[in-house]
Symmetry: C2
Subunit: 650 residues, 2 copies
């Protein structure tokens, strides 16, 4: 079952078109087959129908002129695109975009010719099914139980995260709605309370109702369907859900019915959270002021001690927590939060404080890394086994524990269009307990029979997903890519290993590089494949000068305008105070402790290389590019220093 | 400048691959050129770099095995897709999906090979620019001033509508936030109040603050940037915006500061509004109970009298209106609200009641129909001119007035992936006054200088748009399609005419069809290209029997499972009480007035044919398909009746 390393390396070389179109013949053949097949199908579909476009029409001068213009415009587009960014090149190391798998490109195009719409199986009987298969693939990849979980594709990570928090918000307030509806109907209900036995719902105060576990809440949902012929659930959802009542009336209702001036529910995120989380809490009406940032450690991972401290203080103030977002692969650093430890914090909060919250893993970037933890036989690999395969000290045991903990997150978002190597748009949302989708369904759940299992009615995804029309081609692309590149050590797992090995090689090259009179200061070893570092100028530079140097290097090594073509392409990020203190302070101490005082005002510019390229790990061309990358950084640093007058080199 | 009709007809035949792949040679050539060109580019990019994939690697048995599997999987995908729905066929008349323009398909694929990400120009220097061009195209199409307006592409209509209402909500509450911040800083400000002179902000009560025009509010935004070094704006946005404070704190703040138990703001939509509007108000926290449906008339257009009545009654109760959504091309009927009249209602409300609201046009379906109102020289066509071109009584003068009124809507959503004939995903949002985007920007607007014009900083679209990563390929597809098919009478305008003419031909064929002993009852003539009708059984059928017949016809003529292949494919909708009374009651009276009593309980099933096919209007194959469609409906009706026992035919 296990493959020889050489076999994996050979297979890898069949997955991509290649930076020099090495697999062009294959790609061209397959593309040709698929398009010819499509033509044949059109011709054979209802061949008795008269042609809509006669051969004579295709020979008219107007047709010819129109075609000539299309040809010219298409060429213009193709030529323009070459002034874009060469993501396929090993010289591109800036953002989380690399080449796509040929399977994904060909799958996308093949389905594009049909243009199915995954809003409903009625307009996508095939690709809606493929989407469900893909959702099951991803659920299995993170260790979810396929029978209970549920998921679907989205336009991207922002929409997936938005939906996750929308659902978390709906779960959070649902017990309140049921309690109010039960009071209206004078019905008694019991519910599971963390660390307690079954408790009468009416004995809970508002804070208690907002601190039931997802499971207890979804069990409550299931129970209420049968009560008073569904009337209780109907009243709860129509009269007492935030979704129905809206923010103005809801706050008034809570105050009037509970007499409780309860503080607003909060959402906890690590300092590394993507900027879209702020958009999301704003749009959902939760409010940006309720988005609380938890400090990160030196590795840019959420600090569990700080989280626990936050939770304790919130509980003391009776401030409920709607959700805690953990990041698996932060956008800037690729950092993986210790999700296992975060879940322990929640256990502790339930046991000691009687409070709980939804745990969402934003694995938009890092989700596919879970493939490295799977053997071909469906069993998990140990950290030792993976290290044996990579031949380096990656991954750490704790990284594997974090990845395995994904199975216990209430919801997870994953972007196939990042480490899945498929074209945009392809995000995904997964729920551990698919019953939750009923709380955001467009048809109120009280019209669905209670025995319906989580995955039925997937035929009309638009009922549950936030988006309506969605490209079935995206599902086809992901599906074909998962077929061609298995979601375990043979396929994507190997890709992940290779990018991690490549990143570590680059990291080492940077760490030992001589860029004197400057010097390179690296962040801790990457959790996966994003290498962060900065170049310190000689002498007693101020933080502003340090930042100017790195900003200057970034400008030299990035595509600022369509015709730019730097030797290598990198990106940069800015570590801001106070949330990035855990990362920035140790770095600044290594450079010059006197800079610590300037940091809160200035921020710290850090250079960033994302290794999507699986070939950087191989001796040829890998080592040449690692050396070339370091050389480009050195040249850029020297050029910036020379321009600023502090160096006379070059 | 004007083209001869034959020239337009000849050009039309160069835009699509065709139902029998009539333009296959052309498509194949262009596809081949684009992919070969892409290969050449990859090979010529940094040719000095060693290959990542050696020729030897491509000859290994593992490579060969992997390729064989990819080929088999791709073939499986292609074969499966043929069991989907043949949108390209003239026999498909179910939903708003037809064939795509070749320009769109080729443009998408060409850009897909590059996979740019329009989240930011840094990862899409070319396609971000194309997106801005496309947004300008669409703005011009609806008559917006290109200097002041702003827009972008979205994943689809739901996201575009969501963003529109998010922005409307932000505009709506902004004066409240400024008033509270001004009180904190003890600053005096004046503002334009409908039908009044400049009024001190502090003289307005809460209801007055929530009834300022968009323009007055955006002027206020511009003014506040300069006050107290931006501090006022910062306090307004950080402390007193709903986006920052969130629903719980916000309601409390309003009550505490204004002492006003103001009722929740509402959103008015016509009965025809797409079901996603309910998702949107739920997610935004406005609340589904605040979504108020305005009755529609016989043509399924929002009834302006009912709207006025609603507005008057809301004003009397001091209930503010966040927005009124008008529909240009309803999903089910293709109905165009009389937007000109709706805007008059708003004028009247400002003059007589002192209330106002944001007007959004959901033109997701019908937006491209505006192209029929443009001449090639950039001047508007009159209704007479268009009728002269179509040769039928379409369009009505009032339809042209409704379309021209789009120029005055505060925001408009348009889906290129519907009547733009481009592949999914392609929605679009347009704002008449681009300054509004600052209220939802991810970087708070107080850090932007006040003199920045609306369209600058488009380089990072992710700051303003709700989505993050988005396919640049979608922008390329729309851009190339707009190039190939001009957005006026020569191009899309002609397409719109042809589908309208085809729909009217189908309508006439159904109106005079003999399906005895049943009979066909048509809804009023379509506003564009969606034909709705139903088949009435013989004798004294109950409404349930009537619905069963039409549901049965729909089941016979739709793709319920992957292998279904009915003669023609249609769809159906259900007219529900009370919001569809305007449409359903006249219909039921024509069938049997006794059914009126059953309707509120049962709803009324209506069959629906969407004519995306521009060739239905031509004598051959058009008339053959119109006749074939009627025959298929008759056969299906007779078969259902025979099964139900009320007919012995067949």
């Amino acid at each position: 079952m296990r493959q020889h390393p050489d076999e994996r390396a050979a297979a890898l070389r069949s997955w991509f078109l290649g930076p020099h179109a090495e697999n062009e013949q294959l790609f061209h053949e397959l593309l040709d087959e698929t398009v010819q097949d499509h033509f044949r199908w059109r011709k054979s579909f209802r061949p008795e129908d008269p042609p809509a476009i006669s051969p004579a029409a295709c020979r008219s001068p107007v047709h010819a002129a129109s075609v000539a213009e299309l040809r010219a415009d298409l060429k213009e587009l193709a030529d323009e695109l070459k002034h874009g960014v060469p993501f396929f090149s090993p010289r591109y190391k800036a953002h989380m975009i690399g080449d796509q798998t040929m399977a994904a490109q060909l799958g996308y195009f093949t389905a594009l010719l049909h243009n199915p719409n995954n809003v409903s199986a009625e307009v996508s009987p095939v690709t809606s099914r493929l989407e469900m298969e893909v959702a099951r693939d991803l659920a299995r990849m993170i260790g979810y139980d396929s029978a209970d979980s549920w998921g679907h594709l989205t336009a991207g990570g922002t929409i997936a995260n938005f939906e996750a928090l929308w659902i978390a918000r709906s779960i959070f307030y649902f017990p309140v709605a049921v309690a109010l509806a039960a009071a209206d109907l004078d019905v008694d209900l019991n519910v599971d309370v963390p660390e307690c036995a079954r408790t009468p719902l009416r004995s809970l105060d508002l804070f208690g109702l907002l601190n039931l576990s997802s499971e207890a809440t979804l069990n409550l949902l299931a129970e209420t369907r049968a009560i008073a012929g569904g009337e209780l659930l109907k009243i709860a959802l129509k009269r007492y859900s935030l979704s129905s009542a809206g923010y103005q009336d809801y706050a008034r209702t809570l105050a009037a019915r509970f007499g409780d001036p309860l503080e607003a529910g909060v959402v906890l995120v690590p300092a590394t959270a993507h900027y879209s989380w702020e958009k999301i809490v704003r749009a959902l009406g939760i409010g940006a002021n309720q988005l609380l940032f938890v400090a990160v450690d030196e590795h840019a991972r959420m600090d569990p001690d700080n989280l626990w401290d936050r939770v304790r203080r919130l509980a003391a103030r009776r401030r409920p927590i709607i959700a805690c977002v953990s990041v698996a692969g932060s956008t800037e650093e690729g950092a993986f939060d210790r999700l296992d430890t975060i879940l322990e914090v929640r256990d502790l909060a339930e046991a000691e404080l009687g409070v709980t919250f939804h745990v969402h893993s934003d694995a938009c970037y890092g989700g596919y890394a879970a493939t490295a933890t799977w053997r071909a036989d469906g069993k998990r690999r140990t950290a030792d086994e993976i290290r044996e395969a990579t031949g380096i000290a990656w991954p750490q045991d704790s990284w594997v524990d974090s990845v395995k903990a994904l199975a216990h997150a209430d919801s997870v978002s994953i972007d196939p269009h990042k480490l899945g190597y498929v074209p945009y748009p392809a995000g995904a949302l997964l729920l551990r307990d698919g019953r939750a989708r009923a709380l955001v369904a467009s048809d109120p759940p009280y019209i669905l029979p209670s025995h319906v299992p989580a995955r039925s009615n997937d035929a009309v995804m638009g009922r549950f997903a936030f988006e309506g029309s969605r490209p079935g081609a995206a599902a086809a692309a992901v599906w074909l890519s998962h077929r061609a590149v298995p979601l375990d050590e043979r396929g994507y797992g190997y890709l992940m290993e290779r990018t991690a090995v490549g990143a570590h090689a680059l990291y080492e090259a940077l760490r030992i590089a001589d860029v004197s009179p400057c010097r390179i200061v690296t962040l801790p070893k990457p959790d996966l494949n994003i290498v962060c570092f900065l170049v310190a100028p000689p002498g007693d530079a101020t933080l502003r000068e340090l930042n100017a140097l790195n900003e200057g290097i970034y400008h030299s090594l990035s595509v600022q305008h369509p015709y730019d073509s730097p030797e290598y392409v990198i990106s940069r990020t800015v570590l801001r105070s106070p949330v990035y203190e855990g990362v920035a302070e140790p770095l600044l101490r290594r450079i010059d402790s006197r800079l610590l005082g300037e940091w809160p005002e200035e921020g710290l510019v850090v250079l960033r290389a994302v290794v999507m390229d699986p070939f950087l790990a191989t001796s040829e061309p890998g080592s040449r590019h690692a050396a070339g990358f370091v050389r480009a950084v050195r040249q850029a640093a020297h050029a910036v220093e020379a321009r600023s007058g502090s160096l006379t080199l070059i």
